[in-house]
Structure formats: C-alpha cells, structure tokens
Amino acid sequence: MSDPTHLSLAEARDALKSKQLSAVELAQAHIDAIGKSRALNCFITETPEVALAQAQESDARIARGDARPLEGLPLGIKDLYCSKGVRTTAGSRILDDFTPTYESTVSANLLRDGAATLGKLNLDEFAMGSSNETSAFGPVVSPWRRAADPDSKIVPGGSSGGSSSAVAARLCLGATATDTGGSIRQPAAFTGTVGIKPTYGRCSRWGIVAFASSLDQAGPITRTVRDAAIMLRSMAGHDPKDTTSVDAPVPDYEAAVGTSVKGRRIGVPKEYRIDGMSAEIAALWDKGVAWLKDAGAEIVEISLPHTRYALPTYYIIAPAEASSNLARYDGVRYGCREQGRDISEMYEKTRAAGFGPEVRRRIMIGTYVLSAGYYDAYYVRAQKVRSLIKRDFDEAFASGVDAVLTPATPSTAFAQGEKGAADPVEMYLNDVFTVTVNMAGLPGVAVPGGLAANGLPLGLQLIGKAFDEETLFSLAAAIERAAPKIELPQPWWREG
C-alpha cells in the first residue's frame, strides 16, 4: 500500500480486516510521519514503542480472527487524558513529570477496543485557550497556510490544537479532544477536520484533567464524519466513577452516517447573525442551508434570544469552576514545588511558577467572582442566565426543530501572535458560536464547509438535542457529501 497515513480511519480498519495492510505497517507509517513533522509541535510525548507493541498484538488478534472494533488503528491522545505510565502534562509546567498510575476511562475504552496510541498531543495549558498558544510546551502550528502569505505560522485552534493539527497533517487517524467552550469544534473548523462534542454525560470525565466540570466533555477529532462516529462509539458509555456520566446505551453511531435527512427540520437562529459578521462566514452559512435543503431538509428560522450573553456567562462560570478545580495544584501531592518560608509561601510561589499567564488570570477571575460580596452578583447571576440560555434551546427543540445550523467560528484561523496580545477578550470571541452548546449541555459537531478566499478552511456547526448525536452524524454526513472537497497544501512541514 502506497502511504497508509492517507487512509481514513474507516478505510484503514477495512484494509486491516482484509489483510491488505498490517497493524505494524500502519503504526510504523504514522510513527515515521510524526518523526518528520516535528515542525508542527503536535506531540508533547511520543510513544512509538507503545504503539508498536499494541500493533503487534493487533496483528496477532487479526490473524486469529479476534479483532476488536478499533483493532490496530493508531490514534493520538490529548495530553489532558491521564495515561497510565506515560507522562501527562495538561500543557502546563506545574505538573512537571507527573506520571499517572491509572488510565482515564475514555482512553481505556479506546484501548479496550484495540486502538494503538502514538503519544500525547499538545494543547493550551489546562485547555484554556483558543489558539494553542498558551501551552507551556510551545505553540502548535497548523499544516494549513494562507495562500498569499505562506510564511506566517497559522494556529490550529484550541484548546485541542495538537489533536486538530495532527489529524489534519495525517500524523494519526484520529485523536481524542475535550471541549469546555468550543475546544473540539473550533480547532476542527480551523483545520478542515470533523470534531464532535457529545452531550454532557455521554463520555466519562474520569481521569481527564478537570477545567470546568459542569462544561467539560470528551470527544474525537477525525478527518471524516464516519470516523468521528466510529471513535465516539468506543469513547462513550456509562462509568460508575463519574456521577455525571449517563447510564444509557450507546447507539451504533456509524449506522447513522449516510441515512436520509429528508424531512428533518433545521433551525437557523437569527441571533447568530452577529454584528460585523464577515460576508464570507455569512455566505458559508447560506451554503450550509442550501446543502441541507437540497438533501431534503426543511429550514426554519428560530430565535435563541440569550445568545449574546453566553460568552460573558461562560467567562464567569468556567473560571469559577477552574479556580476550584485547580486548587489541587499546591506542590504537595504531585508536580513541581518551589520552596517557601512557610506552607503558604510555598503554595504561592509554586503556583506562580507553575501556571502560565492565561491560567493565572482565569484562576484570579474565578476567585474574585466566588469571593464574599461578589458571589451573588456574578456567579449566581451567571448561573441564572445559563438557565435562560438552556431554555432558549429547549423551546426551539420543543417547537419541532431536529437540529440547529450555525457557523462554527466567526473567522478562519489566524497567525500566531495576531490575537489577544493586548486584550484577552479578543481571543475569547473565537468561541462565540460554540460556547452556547456547552452552556446547555447539548451535542455539537463541526464539519468542514470549504475554503475561504485566504486558502484556510471554514467550518459549519450543527447542534442537536440532548443524547441525539445520531441526528448530528446524519446531517453532518449530508454536509460532508455536498461541501467542496478541500485539499491540504503540499506537506511543507515534513523534513527529509
């Protein structure tokens, strides 16, 4: 086989099954690609020996007719998922060389189903960022380039920037990611890949480093809708170790890919047509509407009146939860420690040295909005507005809408250093279309919609009812069929 890294996950699965390819060959091809692509800085830790050992077992299983659902498929793991015996950093200096003695439930599910793990993928520090520029291990570079400006390094989105860049650059067949305000869907949109954040509770959060626990959810980034469906089926499922994980059967999502969307009612929320929306994003959205209409869906305008409050609400709730979750990094049980005269100074110096500026800023905002005298004015008010945001969606779905179509991001990807340097809020605005979905706990998928005039990918977002990921896979596949195929630039990032 010519270059197996160009196969989709589903194609690779079928090639292994029909023995056109061995799992060791497939793993080695990806290990070689990773070795030549370090310019992208996708991986924090590479584990080629782990992947090859897993591939050998996969070949033995395939030979004896005992293949599991993901047998021999090489994946990347976002370095927010704890990996037993492999350094796990969360993109932060504060965890130092923390090496978990346990495996996160979601990655354990992937291993149970036979996947091979190529290593740990770079991310924004503690998943706080929209460009992968806050990582303590340096920014990730996207394989995409602006047509007229090929020398600028383009960001892969964030926080799952290592995941999106590695999948786009064909360094792995798929990758795990997490999404608290858009961290799966925005990087997918920026890199022309597919990313789904399932319903809150669909995947276990156990063993994934916590950011904002009422919003965090795991999901895959892949190159096709079918691949996302295959990965999510393995990742999802009830876990007694996470009380918010839902005890409900996991459907065969792959079966939903390719099903008819005829008669489906798609809501188009007028409030997402924000002030200053670029003509290109508006045109992309119109195309998405036309593609679904051509496929037989019915389009209806809906209203989600509290949309504009979602991002401000997020920037109270997420930092509040983060300030609480990140209190555990105190230099006592794991990670780095700075010496101090007493325990309080030890805490303060350790946390000042270990956390980067974005994380420190969010912890401080979270601490402030939870502090005495401000708790009701900020935190409780934000929780009430969150109820209203969720109610908007409840009413839209109650009116008979099956899913909601929006752009995934307000712009294409940008170059390193272009956003947020003077004002952190400028970077936050990236998540304006995705964050509502986390607020309401709903599933959302980003799917490529073509290229912008600057040569960078654009993505559409579909939002579904709680636990109705199947409808999203069906609709996303319809968009995937209709949208123009996008082609990655020549692999400029490969050495040798």
């Binding site: 946390r351 402030y368 409780v380």
Partner: protein
C-alpha cells in the same frame, strides 16, 4: 464593577498565587477588561429564574457506602515532590 490594585493583591493571595509589584498594574487592566466584558449580564432580567447547577436534569447517582478502593499508598505517593515513608512532606505549618 472594577478592581483596584489592593483588590488585585487580595485576589492573588486568595488564589495562592504570588505576584510581583511590577505585575499589579497589568493584571488590574486585564481583570478589568474581563469584568467589563461580563458586565453586560447585569442587563438580563433574571427575576424568578432558578440558577442552573447541572447541565442536564439528572438525579445524582449514589452507590452503596462501602470501601471500593484502597491499599495503594505507594501509587498515591508516587508523584509527590517530597515524601517520607507514606507521608507527604510539607514546610512547617505550626510555629
């Protein structure tokens, strides 16, 4: 609402994050930019609205109150920056 430099220092201390004097002004500006951004929530009418505390309406699952884990002290201490036998070691807490 906006914060002054004394408040920045107080929040940093509550957050257990050491800050240099030279950082205070910059942090004050950044925190005030974020607080100005979230200020828009004050215009929302939330009269009679319950705060949302769980993303989806679900009953908190409870398990039997029995020991399900344990005997892994070595694993728990494996990543400690400083340990002695089965103890985490910290600077002196009481003078």
């Amino acid at each position: 609402m906006s914060v002054d430099s004394a408040t920045v220092r107080r929040i940093a201390h509550l957050s257990r994050i050491a800050i240099e004097d030279s950082e205070v002004e910059r942090l004050r500006g950044e925190l005030n930019a974020i607080l100005a951004f979230v200020e828009t929530l004050s215009e929302v009418d939330v009269e009679g609205v319950e705060p949302l505390t769980s993303a989806l309406p679900m009953q908190m699952k409870k398990r039997a109150d029995v020991v399900t884990d344990g005997g892994i002290a070595d694993e728990i201490l494996a990543n400690a920056p400083l340990r002695e036998d089965h103890y985490f070691v910290v600077p002196k807490v009481i003078e």
